[in-house]
Each structure stands twice: as structure tokens, then as C-alpha cells.
Subunit: 287 residues, 2 copies
């Protein structure tokens, strides 16, 4: 048992899977669910993701409260929760961006900011909602925590222990570095895939193009089937880092364009070869 | 039996799989293999991809000759083959670009251009060589033929029948349209993936970025593990169409950048939503 009472704000894929994994691991005794959508809470109850629905006052009495919501809702939720937080309660989140979450949390929590452990599980699915939750979602996945200078050490330790009990490997990063890293390896690829598909879709003869698209296109654009709302929120929440990555990417495309345009076979080969080597090295290390 | 004697110039994944599929379908009696690499020819013999190795004079006596080589070698190979082509022999190819192949073929074949059926099977793998060949590679895949005004109708019919026997669906496109379509749905995604990975790999702190890359990155960049030499050749062979696609893509990225920079949530959501809808529509039609 790591905590007696856990509250999940947002009982969808991310929050529901956290709860299932911790219940399976015997790491929590009771899980409360908070959400605006009664159907979603009912589904979470029915699937055993939560033991009962709760309001803000009840959730504030939990030992640990996980926010598993779009990052844009962090400020409003923490404002609702803050007045009810019992002494020693730990709050953590699962948002894809961290600098904006930290800013929102500091504004909403004030003196209780020491109890807030910003987090980001690197796991997900194109599916969402309580029906998609599964106990093994975090198995072998990374969770990045971005604690602040004033975060309580024992709060970090508890949140780390919870994620480890859920099967994840926990790493720590500076919040700004987190946002730059994920702008590059996650947010930019999503934007690049959305932009490419939309550019084709907008063409009058777009159907001819899609008709001959094959498996390379399918995999390259898989992430363009992700939630538009969630990715809009991420792009705007991490705007500066995303813009810097977009600029670096467009500069790289320009350099490649120059090499192709000049028929500089060596320069083109150098770019492609370095890319393949780097990717294969990465894949090899991962597996 | 569609043809008695088939010759394959290049006995790797593409040529070897064509041969295996046709043998399995009983569509050919004998398959000759032509190649510069003795080890590759030996492997092709051992795996039964070909019945015997042949020189240009022997290959020219085949009823149908498939070129399954990098498109940059088309001109040289056809110049070697042309003097030996028996009356009625049909030549076809499997190159990923078509306008440059047609130009090379017309220069090399002269009056025999009527016997040349330009083709492009939309199938492949990150693996290559005779060891990767398999009889079902073309099952359910598209093959695009780009016959010219002077191509013999019965040559088109024979090549169509062969690909159908190999399990493929055959479609016909104008060569220039083919090159534009594949520049958009295949060549551009490859260049975009190579450029993104190389840009990250070139950073002094690139390792930190790769360390947190996950499944979205893995799929988006899968095609950056493709053969650098093959894709260099394709980018240069289809240079004009590829440059036009790169320009359209960079323009789309600029438009998205503007929307993010201006915090225009509606414009960002519109791009992402259209992209997801178009991709899901495409995936739904394909499956």
C-alpha cells in the first residue's frame, strides 16, 4: 500500500489506466473519481476504474490526487480543488506540457505548491475514454517528473513509487527542457503529419493522391489521426518551443531542398544516411 | 502459362518476389536472372527465385524482361539489352519514378520503344536482397503502369496479366501524373522523415531528445530507415515534382506556424481536424 486514498480527476484512458494498474498492484486502497461527465463516471464505476464518484471537497481529502485532463483545464481544476486540500495531500498531473502546468499550479496553489509534483507519462493511444483504460498501459513506459525547487521531497518519492507500482520507469527533467524535448520528438511530428495530410486533402484532385498512398504514408501519418482538440491545446500550451522546432525543421527542409535542387547527390545521400544511422541506432537501443 | 521465358534484371526483393509469385501461379515456365553481383545471383538460384543466371544475349531471348533495379541504372541496362532483344520480346520495369525511365527507355530502345511497358509496383519493405523475396509481396497491392501512346497494346496486356497473376491490382496513369502523385504520397514523406531525424541527430544534445522519443516518433520516422541510396536516386530522378511537393509542404508548415504563433486556436483546430478526417476517411476506404 503506497497511499490509502487516491483521487482521479478525469477518468479516461490516462487516469483510468493509472487507477487500474495501482489497484492491481495493491498500491491503493480506495480510488475516488471526479469528472463533469456523468456517463464517463458511470462507465468508470462499472469498469472498476474508481470505487465512487466524488466532489471537490471529497477529492481534497485523498492522500494523492492525479489530474488526468487536457492541460488547458489545469488552472480551473486546481482552483476548485485548492480550498479543500487536506494537510499533506499530494497533487500530481499527467499533462503533455509542463511549463504552463507549473505556472497554472503555482497561481492556483500558492503556498501548497510544494505539494504539487508535475508529471508526464509517455504513454497513450489513439483511443480515449474509460473504455480504453487498461492496467498495463504504463508497463515499461517512461514517466517524466519535472519537480520544482520547492517541491516536497517526500511528495516526489510518493508519486515516483506510484508510477513504479504502475509499471513505469520514472525520470526527472527540468520543466523547460521537458517542453523542448517533447516539442521536438512528439509535438513537431504531430504538427508535421497534420500539415502534410491537410495540404493533400485541400487539393481539388486530392482523391487521386490518397488513392495511391501506401504503407509508408500510413505510418508517417498515423499520428494525424490523433485528437485535434488535444493537439491544438498542446501546440498552444507549448507554443514557443513548438515554434522553435518548426523553424529548425523548415530550415532542415530548406537545406535538403537546396541539395536536391542543385542535384548534389552527395549532400542528399549524407542527410539520408545520417538520418538512417541515427534512427537505427535509436531503435536498436530501445529494443 | 502467360510467358514461357521470363528474365529478371536485378534478383533482389522486387524482382525475386515477382518471379516467386509467377512460379507459384504457374504463369511462367523458366526464369533467367541477370545481375552484376555473383553472390546475389547464387542466393537467387539457391532460393529458387531464378532457374539460371544469364547474360544480356540470353536475357534478350526471353519473352518478357523485368528491370528491377535502381531507376538510375535504367539507361545503361537498356543499352546493354537492346541489341539482343528478340522480335516480340516485351520489356517492363519496376522503378519508383516513371518520366525519367520513359526518357531513358526511348533513348536506349529507339524503334523498340513500343515493346516497353513502364511499371511501378507499390510494394516494398525496409529489407532488400534475394533473401527478402517472397511470393506474396504483391498480393492485394497496386501496380501502376504508365504506357505511352506508342506502347503495343498486347505488351500492356501481357504485363498486366503477369502482375495480376502475382496477385496485384493493375492501374494505369499518365507518367507525369504518376510522378506527381508519388512525389506527394511517397517521396515527400520520405524526405520529410529523413530531414526530421537528421536535424535532431545533428544537435549536440541530440541523445537527450532521442531518449524520450516514443511510438509516435517511431512510426513517423519508420521510412527514415529506408535505403539512403535508393531514396537519393528517387529524389534526383523525380526532382521537379519533389521540389514542388517540398514547396507546398513548407507553405503548409508556414501557415500552421502562423496560426500557432498568433494563438489562433480555431485555425489550428481546423487544420488538425481536416487532416484527421481526411486520413480516417482514407484508412476506412483502404480497409
Amino acid at each position: 500500500m503506497i497511499v490509502e486514498k487516491l483521487a482521479i480527476v478525469g477518468t479516461g484512458l490516462i487516469g483510468g489506466s493509472f487507477s487500474l494498474a495501482l489497484k492491481q498492484a495493491g498500491a491503493v486502497r480506495e480510488v475516488l473519481g471526479v469528472g463533469r461527465n456523468p456517463a464517463s463516471l458511470d462507465a468508470a464505476l462499472e469498469r472498476g476504474l474508481i470505487d465512487r464518484a466524488a466532489d471537490w471537497a471529497q477529492a481534497g481529502q485523498a492522500d494523492c490526487i492525479l489530474l488526468a485532463l487536457p492541460v488547458g483545464e489545469t488552472a480551473a481544476v486546481l482552483k476548485n480543488l485548492a480550498p479543500h486540500l487536506k494537510a499533506g495531500a499530494i497533487v500530481t498531473d499527467a499533462g503533455s506540457t509542463k511549463v504552463n502546468v507549473v505556472v497554472a499550479a503555482r497561481a492556483a496553489l500558492g503556498a501548497r505548491m510544494a505539494d504539487f509534483v508535475p508529471g508526464h507519462p509517455i504513454a497513450g493511444s489513439e483511443q480515449s475514454g474509460p473504455g480504453a483504460a487498461r492496467a498495463d498501459l504504463y508497463q515499461g513506459r517512461k514517466v517524466v517528473l519535472t519537480p520544482q525547487a520547492d517541491t516536497r521531497a517526500d511528495a516526489i518519492a510518493t508519486v515516483t513509487a506510484l508510477w513504479q507500482a504502475a509499471g513505469a520507469q520514472v525520470e526527472t527533467l527540468d520543466a523547460a527542457l521537458h517542453d523542448r524535448v517533447f516539442a521536438a520528438v512528439s509535438h513537431l511530428p504531430h504538427l508535421a503529419a497534420f500539415a502534410l495530410v491537410d495540404e493533400l486533402a485541400q487539393r481539388a484532385d486530392g482523391d487521386t493522391f490518397f488513392r495511391f498512398a501506401a504503407s509508408g504514408f500510413r505510418d508517417f501519418t498515423r499520428i494525424a489521426s490523433s485528437s485535434p482538440e488535444m493537439w491544438r491545446d498542446i501546440a498552444l500550451a507549448n507554443r514557443e518551443a513548438v515554434l522553435a522546432e518548426l523553424d529548425a525543421y523548415v530550415a532542415a527542409l530548406h537545406a535538403l531542398r537546396s541539395a536536391v535542387s542543385a542535384e548534389d547527390a552527395e549532400a542528399v545521400l549524407a542527410i539520408f544516411s545520417r538520418a538512417r544511422e541515427a534512427r537505427n541506432h535509436w531503435i536498436h537501443k530501445k529494443t
